[in-house]
């Protein structure tokens, strides 16, 4: 993550435990669902899961294109 950014390419860290992401120095952080299922939720229907995934990916893409000057958590 850090090496990629050092090479000039922005990185988004999609991560469930935001404090760890902050500790390791991620600059753009998108909170995920849960550790065993970061991009889904087995308690939801298939259609709802698709929506959860779509929202997370769109949020991550938006974060990727956002200029940041400090560690930023993209909550919405």
């Amino acid at each position: 993550m850090k090496e990629i950014e050092r090479g000039g390419i922005p990185v988004v860290h999609v991560c469930t435990i935001v404090p760890i992401s902050q500790t390791v120095g991620a600059n753009r952080i998108v909170p995920a669902v849960a550790i065993p299922h970061p991009l889904g939720d087995p308690t939801r229907t298939h259609e709802e899961e698709v929506q959860i995934r779509r929202n997370l990916v769109l949020k991550a893409l938006k974060a990727l294109g956002t200029e940041v000057h400090e560690q930023t958590v993209f909550t919405d």
């Binding site: 469930t16 435990i17 935001v18 404090p19 760890i20 500790t23 909170p31 849960a34 550790i35 065993p36």
Partner: protein, 428 residues
Amino acid sequence: MKLELHKMQIKSMAWGAKTGVKDGVLSVCKEDVLSLVKTDPNFLKVEVDLALPGDKTRIIPVKDVVEPRCKLEGKNGIFPGMISDVETVGYGKTLVLEGAAVVTCGKVVGFQEGIIDMSGPAADYTPFAHTCNLVLVVDPVEGLERHDYEASLRIAGLKVAEFLAKSAAGMPADSVEAYEAKPLKEAMTDYPGLPKVAYLYMLQSQGLLHDTYVYGVDAKKILPTLINFTEVFDGAIVSGNCVSACDKNSTYYHLNNPIIKAMAARHGKDYNFVGVIITNENVTLADKKRSSSYAVKLAQTLGVDGLLISEEGFGNPDADLIMNCRKAENAGIRTVLVTDEYAGRDGASQSLADAAKEADAVVTAGNANEIIILPAMEKVIGYPTYADVIAGGFQGSLRQDGSIEVELQAITGATSELGFTRISAITI
């Protein structure tokens, strides 16, 4: 709440026509044990075996270890919510067969169980090389879900442990230890000159067979709460864990929690040990935030000056550990953390997945990534091929001559975060 532990020292274990203790030898009637366990329709095949200290025997893959205990006095039985009613335990009298253990062995989640060697280099790392072990090897019926297999194996171990202890009920104990967990009204005013401390006891609750039970309740569903330490000695906390063997708390450790024992021993001398808070290690950020805030709030409600925090497992729970530490320290409560490390085979990597400057008093149980070579044993109880897939093992771990090259991670209890270990280090 007063509890007496009536301890009988078990020096050896042998098969016999009748189950019972004589002159420190626990005789076990194999048929009795088999008939007790075989009643579970989830089991296809049940085998029982003995593994004694010094034997050239390996047990793999180990799921849980349980100390034989039963109630002598007190309304409820041992392991409430599991094999006894859900009523309160932790008072009266409890019989302990010290030196004996029931080891459950099965292919529940092959890669997340452990190894016990009864002799050789690994014997220094696992306390269960030094207990007389009755080993249950249980195969499930075809198609049984893993979580049902785990639940059945867990109950089988607890039942056999109680059965063994009951066989000696009524005989004189070798020693009696008396404990008292006082009501808060008294605990709060005792020893006015001494600092108040509590113990924050983290329980593995990630789910997917990484579970701990409190009076039968899945710990991931609890809010942090208070428990009298004597309840822990009576099996109120039971392991349902299939996770890296080195630092999961087997049921045996809960029953004998060395941190609780040490705090009880120093109570009234160095500090006032006012209570135990249990908390969980769940998998969402919201759960982690809620539980750490709630646990620290309970510590504040108790008005403690210090908090001793023990972790169970590693990685994900490191985040809970650090949250607990940071929130307590920011509330003015000094903390000491007990953990272990995954610092790579050379010890050069970051030890925990999370860190904080507030965590300035940490006790480590060792580096679980250290490599150890386990020589071939004359006898293997269980399924040796699991050495290749066990956490801490790798393709080729099991060599052709029967020896095994693994990380300490694979050895049951090698880096216990309750300090139930035999190896320590001092700085010179």
